[in-house]
Point group: C2
């Protein structure tokens, strides 16, 4: 799949280290353990440590690091919380890791405009804690407590994208440091604009390869008057999926709707000491006014019953809901706990919902025929689902089998007019699938990369190879 | 404001004409009246006719015209319905106008996926007529019956963007012919994707300057179970605006909410033989389930009453609603009819809604102090409003006064962190405001233009000058 280029950093690294030390003092480190930790994410990719980690606290810091890396043609890899999954933070050619965790200030909240601006290192939970007394929240929820800069950079989404959209839809504007050291604000704070090319969307999803995101302006939402969650088992995955498809097609503005397969339910029960039934299960959340939620629930109960799903377990208090979603969100970790010492190889296809049942059914058949252990969870309202393969990375035959299954899933999704990644991004793990998905479009992407980063210093080897 | 470059087309135009005639036969014309008609839009800009109009029927036709224009470095201006407002179709340097009205096929509708694909020349009304029996509709409604390719190209929106978003949010994918003649599909049909740079959003709003949009894949929506519209007068524009701001902040998912000022109400009454009160007026539309609409109406009635608005006139049947929205949509033409023979100079600022009341109030003071006649209408739920100046373009002092007022509006909006154009686009009319709005961002836009269109053949002189 992925070819790894030789380290580019050896040539001038000592000069760069000296310059970084002069400016940043003890805000840089070359400690082996810190480098290791910054060279891997939560996916299955090998650790590729950078040569140095520098902790930025301001946009000026970022400008200084970019200038230095540009001068020395040194790879520069932005790092938020390291919760990406496709090798996004791997230092494929060595270089400087720019850790933005200390850029953690909420800069502005405008309740009247339902928006806010944060530094890139603020995490989504940190923002929602900050918003607690305002009656507002930021909905996008990829599971991990990722940084908002990182979420913008990977075009993240998660469990409630079905209602609120993805980072594409919820970023109003960005501050970006470009490869030539300019600080660019991509848009004003108006809700809509036709003023020129959409620079905001150009950087959302660019994974640090076109510029470094330093500030993020986000849409916020009023906390719904009523929120109700439920778990419901189904006789088969196909029937669960059909319920979701019918729900979406009926226009119910559902807050979340998540599929968890029996193996993953078993994992969730074991990990969280829970007693859910071990069956294909949907996790629902309804948002709205009290009457609106009642209406939604009535429709969805009817649709579920038609597919053999009638044992709803409700969670109406915030505590019960948190417990329910905690279980769902920990599925990735719960699955890994099913095979101690293993790693999870997470897949991420997304297809038009009319093809979802077929796509999942065919995938299930593949999984049943495979010796690998795996669990499936999915944001099925968007047509997006994940199979996590539980693998021992030291066993080449397991890696090969996971690779084979993943490739079959991706090719099946593409044949259904879907995408190789619904929300995890490309990193270097999906880079070879991009041509299969986009054809001529990849040439345009390469053109963009060469134009915005002619020396290929920004997160080199990710999204496209130049 | 706008500088007009010398015609670039004279050199090779005869060769190009011969080649076009050889391929397209009677699908090209150099008739003076047709050239005139294709050299102007519905705004206030001077007519700048192209040298030839060619009628494309297929993507292959577009590829052929692009190849010819590339070979001869000939300006190429795409033309949908000519309903743009900022000189988008003006042939500033002469050249070939590519009329796509005959690319009018609805290629695919997938009711299960709530999406469709159309050729670029299909208009929004044509699409909605086509969808009539499906229970689905395409909501984006800029007033004019524009082509969907043109709407994508200008990132159009209109009266119900407050509920459904703009073309940015509703285009799933595009087919685009690039300046080097490649046919690129920008994305798959999955609802979401993190697979590389957002090529779709790069072309949405690019106004034909980065590539020619030939096919558009769009999101569709189920027609709401209940739709209710109403008109309500207010004692002042400020109170009407405050009602809207409170509505948005309360989270009511309102379908449309439009402001019409007293002068425009007078125009609407005269034009449509109607008897609405001549006052600052809000036009509302509520979409949802029956119970949901009742809830929304109850909240909005309370918010309106608090601002002195209580005389709601309701339209519940489709006929009554059509009449009501026909009146609002014809405001532009109704205003022009108030001064026979005049043209309208439409403005288009958009600000964060917390600043909207102040922005409109200060604008009103400017208008009262000016000798120009003007009317105001606005998509105030988005913070977007339009003042139409009624001018005689042959009178330099009227043009100068409209220019002065427009510039004050734009600078006021920018000072409030708003945009110079909420939905009309840049064309060449707003090109000088782009630097004021985007600063360093304009350099990135120029870089994009030079990269995607190195010979500057695609709608030259629009969005950015190179």
């Amino acid at each position: 799949m992925s070819t790894v280029t030789a380290r580019r950093s050896h040539r001038d690294i000592d000069v760069v280290l000296a310059a970084l030390r002069a400016r940043f003092g003890n805000r840089i480190t070359t400690s082996a353990s810190v480098l290791e930790q910054h060279g891997r994410d939560e996916g299955h990719h090998a650790t590729m440590p950078p040569d140095v980690v520098v902790y930025a606290q301001s946009t000026d810091d970022v400008v200084a690091v970019v200038a230095l890396c540009r001068e020395h043609k040194m790879p520069l890899i932005p790092y938020g919380t390291g919760t990406s999954l496709e090798g996004h933070v791997a230092a494929l050619e060595g270089g400087v890791c720019l850790d933005v965790a200390q850029m953690d200030q909420v800069l502005r909240v405008s309740p009247d405009d339902l928006d806010c601006t944060v530094q890139c290192g603020v995490t989504r939970n940190q923002l929602n804690d900050y918003l607690r007394d305002t009656g507002l929240f930021f909905p996008i929820d990829p599971g991990a407590d990722a940084s908002l800069g990182g979420m913008a950079a990977t075009r993240a989404s998660g469990t409630n994208a079905v209602r609120y959209g993805t980072m594409r839809d919820n970023v109003l504007s960005l501050e970006v440091v470009t490869a030539d050291g300019k600080v660019v604000r991509t848009a004003r704070r108006a809700r809509k604009s036709s003023a020129g090319y959409d620079l905001t969307r150009l950087f959302v999803g660019s994974e640090g390869t076109l510029g470094i995101i330093t500030e993020v302006t986000l849409r916020l939402y009023g906390i719904p008057e009523a929120v109700l969650a439920a778990v419901c088992p189904f006789p088969s995955v196909a029937q669960a999926v059909d319920t979701v498809v019918a729900t979406i097609q009926s226009g119910v503005p559902i807050g979340r709707v998540e599929l968890v397969d029996p193996f993953a339910m078993r994992a969730v029960n074991a990990y969280g000491n829970l007693d859910y039934g071990v069956a294909p299960t949907l996790f629902f959340e309804f948002h709205g006014t009290k009457a609106g939620v009642d209406e939604q629930v009535a429709i969805v109960k009817e649709l579920a019953a038609a597919q053999g799903g009638s044992e709803f377990r409700w969670a109406s208090t915030a505590d019960e809901r948190n417990k329910l979603w905690h279980a769902r969100h920990n599925a990735h970790y719960a699955l890994m706990a099913m095979r101690p010492g293993c790693r999870a190889w997470p897949t991420d296809v997304c297809v038009p919902i009319s093809r979802l049942a077929q796509c999942i059914t065919e995938t299930e058949a593949d999984l049943e025929a495979s010796p690998l252990q795996s669990g499936m969870v999915g944001h099925v309202g968007d047509g997006n689902f994940h199979v996590d393969f539980l693998i021992d990375p030291s066993k080449p035959e397991e890696m090969a089998e996971a690779r084979r299954l993943n490739e079959r899933m991706v090719m099946r999704a593409l044949a259904m007019d879907g995408t190789c990644t619904g929300e995890h991004g490309v990193g270097y793990g999906k880079i070879d699938f991009l041509a299969a998905e986009h054809g001529e479009g990849v040439a345009l992407m390469r053109l963009l990369k060469r134009t915005f980063d002619p020396d290929n210093i920004l997160n080199p080897g990710k999204v496209v190879r130049v």
